[in-house]
Amino acid sequence: MTDTIVAISTALGVGAISIVRLSGKEAINIVNKIFKGKDLTKVNTHTINYGYIIDENEEIVDEVLVSVMKSPKTFTTEDIVEINCHGGIIATNKVLEICLNNGARLAEAGEFTKRAFLNGRIDLTESEAVMDIIESKSEESRKLAISQLKGNLYNLIESFRTKLLNLISSIAVNIDYPEYYDIEVITLEKLTKELKKLQLELKNLIKESENTKLLKTGIKTVIVGKPNVGKSSILNTLLHEDKAIVTDIAGTTRDIVEGEILLDGILLNIIDTAGIRSTQDIVEKLGVDKSLTLINDADLVIVVLNGHEKLSSEDKEILEKTKDKLRVIVVNKSDLDQNIELEELPTTILCNTTTKEGLSPLKEKIKELFNLEKIATKDYTYLSNTRQISLAKQAYKSLLSAVEATANKEHIDLIEIDLRECFDILGEIIGITYSDEVIDNLFKNFCVGK
């Protein structure tokens, strides 16, 4: 970490200004060499300086504002220079290139944050939030990242941990001071009640977090149905309705994102493959395995049925395979005679793509399924990356085994072991590992001693 790194730190092609950022010992010197304006080595820290970036032939590349921030009060704690470029993608790329030619090294993804973290500038949750800002796609997820930076996530986890801590301490005091008759004995009944509350709370936190995560990465949506039930017309109508950008960029290695739909600020990634589209039939042509993988990977499955016909065996198979998934059942062709037996199906949405009837209930339904209204209006404090969510799930597992142990009438000290595990894992999310919190809390809240 002795070299100076540089990167374009704004998303390319979005917005009028792009920022080229440098961090490291040589940051100021490098920019000073290519800057026409004040002598940047002599300006005060945290100042913005107007001037031009020039190339090796002293030709002006761009008109810029240069922010100079000197160590240690910077994001990475190193010297940082940010060049605000105004000339669009080509000029910005040129500025970057000149920086590289003058001794800076191209930063790896997230390297600024890594430096900030390694230099002790930010804690683990904060650094993850910064990573997420870099990666965030939609406005919603940017807000989420910003609120996490302020430590909301820390407070959220901490308040849950405090509740757990109080419960653990009450058990601990029962163990270490068994003869204190005035101290409330933690009975299994009381424990069951408390655990139920905690379980629900953590479960909701995880669920909402997962939904929130979808805000950033987009909701992987698969549309399934027999040939000619109107899958494509639903897709196309959705796309047109929301003026979404249709792209052909690869999402993950496996999925091809057919289209991205912004549904009131919520990103839907419609997953499809050319193969599936051309065969028009998932179940038959690709076999159950392949279609299952697609369905399993999806966050949302839209099952399309033809309202004009009775349920076929293929329809039934699709319904069976998707029954454990978050799904919306759309009965299309509601303009024709309805022969389908609706009472056999769970909640359905009637839809007629030719008249666009039924599309808004579909959108409402999707928003409802992901609790998106709530997320969108709330204060954005959720676990927002995979590491955090997977730790929270581990913690939930420990909590569950405590619940089970309680139901099996295990001894409270054994149940406490599970609770302690849950407590420690949650601590890991916010970077606390080893602590005497239980003991401190025990003596603070209980009157014990010889």
């Binding site: 068994p178 001894h411 000290d413 003991i439 001693g449 010889k450």
Partner: protein, 620 residues
């Protein structure tokens, strides 16, 4: 006269340290200011309790004396937490304060390599940062290769009651005036700690009709694994329970400022777990009453100890307070309560062998290290004695890990975190307490005891036989299957457990909460001892939890195996947070595991350190 090892202080730490050293065939001298005060119990008349009781078992498993001596001095025995899991069950004895020291003195006197001497040590003799011996108040110099300081609360101790403040050790004993100043000059950081003890009252002045009886256990119990002589359970001396009254609380509130603590006369930091009664009334003002136990101190005299009533009020207020208690309206106070302040060293200046980092071959154990409690002291004393001896023998030290013993947890906490208030062991301090049980202390530690040479061959053979039998019983139950025959299912029905449809091993049957090992005797004869059956039962019933704990412990051990060289210069490790750098330089952890337990050292610092060490190893 020359010795190999000198132990300074004859309390619980000193007794264990000197016995261990002498039994390992080192010429040992125990110096105490008063031979009549050997193994004295200046506070509560009991040994054991949660966590502490398990320490006593561990001491016994390693070949120490406390458990055996407690067995000889019992007034009343109680198994605590019997309604909870096996990991937290612990033994506590009420102890006769006359018998315990008397028996310990007998044992010390009989030890052939051990000499006892009454004297006051004032200086340490040091050459090139290595201990050479001690200098007494008389000017006499005694030389030795290792010295163990177990000075308890005697360093610059001051006894307080109300505004009176007197330089003195516990109950009028001579304090050690100069040693702590000397230690400070040598570079030890000195802490000022405080503790206290409640009043003692005359037994015949108590009206027991206003108290509740606290009886002992109905089956005979012992601390020592070797003890086969049991006492008469019907002849135990009971304790009694009373509660403070609103009047008591009023007296305390009215006179709060007169107590040493609230009057501002105390500099030392008191233990959080051992608050004085005025602390309880102030800090927990919503509590209407606090419970107190009336505990006999001895069958040879009449003092009754009021457990829970320690105070630093002046004597006249103590009279009022005691008389406000049920059954004690006319009680005569025989000894007033007092607070005591004393010096301790910063335990972060110790290695995990209990040798000091500053002076080679100087060890410290017990309250001088900032702990409290007889058991914590004895445990450290034993380890210091063993390690001082092992070092002279040029052998590897005994360092118990956190998953091996409460003693390991205790010492790791001391050297890694240090103390702010007197340290007491609690079950909550042990992460792997399911492994650290009362019942399996011998299985955990006897092997060490034998290797070190504190367990005789004969006792060791008994132990290996027990281990073998546990194995045999395990295998027997795992391989013996019962099938759904009519008579078998009707027996299962009779003992209120579900009947079987397929064959099942007896071991799996034992896993059912309602099935005990005695039930299994219906199917097969089990000629095994109670202890052997208990081990197999606990392992069957708590297998899931035990496995989980073992797995967690293994995780810890992988960090524990990553050794940090003692010479590592943390200034050279790039990117460490400055707090971590400072703490690591101060404590000099020996492993990454220990480093990770230092407060202020974050996971990021551990990762950085890990990377640095890896690079260091590669370069070599």
């Amino acid at each position: 006269m020359e010795y190999e090892i000198i132990v300074v202080g004859g309390g619980h730490a000193g007794c264990e340290a000197s016995l261990a050293a002498a039994r390992k065939n080192h010429k040992t001298l125990l110096i105490t200011s008063n031979l009549q005060n050997i193994a004295d119990m200046p506070c509560n008349p009991s040994i054991g309790g949660p966590a502490k009781g398990i320490v006593v078992r561990e001491i016994d498993a390693l070949g120490g004396e406390m458990g055996k001596n407690a067995d000889k001095s019992l007034l009343q025995a109680k198994m605590l937490n019997t309604k909870k899991g096996p990991a937290v069950q612990a033994l506590r004895f009420q102890i006769d304060k006359i018998t315990y020291p008397k028996e310990m003195l007998k044992t010390l006197t009989k030890e052939k390599n051990l000499t006892l001497k009454e004297a006051m040590v004032e200086k340490l003799l040091i050459k090139n940062n290595k201990i050479e011996g001690v200098e007494l108040a008389t000017g006499e110099k005694i030389y030795a290769q290792a010295v163990i300081l177990t000075t308890g609360t005697y360093l610059r101790s001051v006894v307080l009651a109300g505004s009176t403040k007197k330089a003195s050790g516990p109950h009028g004993e001579k304090e050690s005036k100069y040693l702590s100043t000397h230690l400070k000059e040598l570079g030890f950081k000195i802490l000022r700690l405080k503790t206290g003890t409640p009043p003692r009252i005359a037994k015949e002045t108590i009206d027991y009709s206003e108290t509740l009886l606290e009886a002992g256990a109905t089956e005979p119990l012992s601390f020592s694994f070797d003890n086969k002589i049991y006492y008469d359970v019907n002849k135990q001396i009971p304790c009694h329970l009373i509660y403070t009254t609103p009047q008591t609380h009023q007296i305390i509130k009215d006179h709060l400022k007169e107590s040493s603590m609230y009057g501002g006369y105390v500099e030392g930091v008191g233990p959080r777990y051992c608050p004085s009664i005025e602390d309880k009334v102030v800090r927990f003002s919503d509590k209407e009453r606090h419970q107190l136990f009336l505990e006999p101190e001895s069958i040879f005299y009449d003092d009754i100890y009021i457990q829970g009533f320690s105070t630093s009020m002046p004597h006249n207020i103590q009279e009022e307070m005691v008389h406000s208690l049920p059954g004690l309206h006319k009680a005569k106070i025989l000894k007033y309560a007092y607070a005591i302040e004393y010096d301790a060293i910063d335990s972060k200046q110790l290695k995990n062998t209990l040798e000091t980092k500053i002076i080679e071959n100087l060890y410290t154990a017990g309250q001088i290290n900032g702990t409290s409690g007889y058991e914590e002291a004895a445990g450290q004393g034993l380890i210091a004695g063993i390690n001082a001896a092992l070092k002279l023998e040029k052998k590897e030290p005994l360092i118990l890990k956190r998953n091996e013993a409460y003693i390991g947890v205790l010492i790791d906490d001391l050297v890694t975190k240090g103390v702010k208030d007197p340290y007491r062991l609690l079950t909550s301090r042990a992460e792997y307490r399911l492994l650290l049980r009362h019942d399996n202390a011998d299985l955990r530690l006897r092997e060490y005891g034998y290797k070190i040479g504190l367990i005789s061959k004969e006792k060791y053979q008994e132990f290996t036989k027990k281990k073998q039998e546990i194995n045999n019983l395990f295998n027997l139950l795992k391989t013996t299957k019962i099938t759904p025959k009519k008579e078998i299912n009707s027996y299962l029905e009779k003992i209120n457990t579900t009947t079987i449809k397929d064959g099942i091993s007896l071991y799996d049957l034992l896993k059912r909460p309602e099935v005990s090992i005695n039930h299994l005797e219906n199917f097969i004869s089990l000629p095994y001892s109670k202890e052997v059956k208990q081990q197999v039962t606990i392992n069957a019933k708590y297998e899931g939890y035990i496995k989980k704990a073992s797995k967690e412990a293994e995780k810890m051990l992988t960090l524990e195996e990553k050794i940090i060289p003692a010479t590592l210069n943390y200034q050279l490790v790039p990117n460490l947070a400055s707090e971590a750098r400072q703490k690591l330089s101060e404590i000099k952890p020996t492993t990454l595991g220990q480093a990770s337990r230092i407060s202020g050292v974050n996971p990021a610092d551990i990762s950085i350190l890990m990377v640095y060490l890896r690079r260091l190893n590669k370069d070599e």
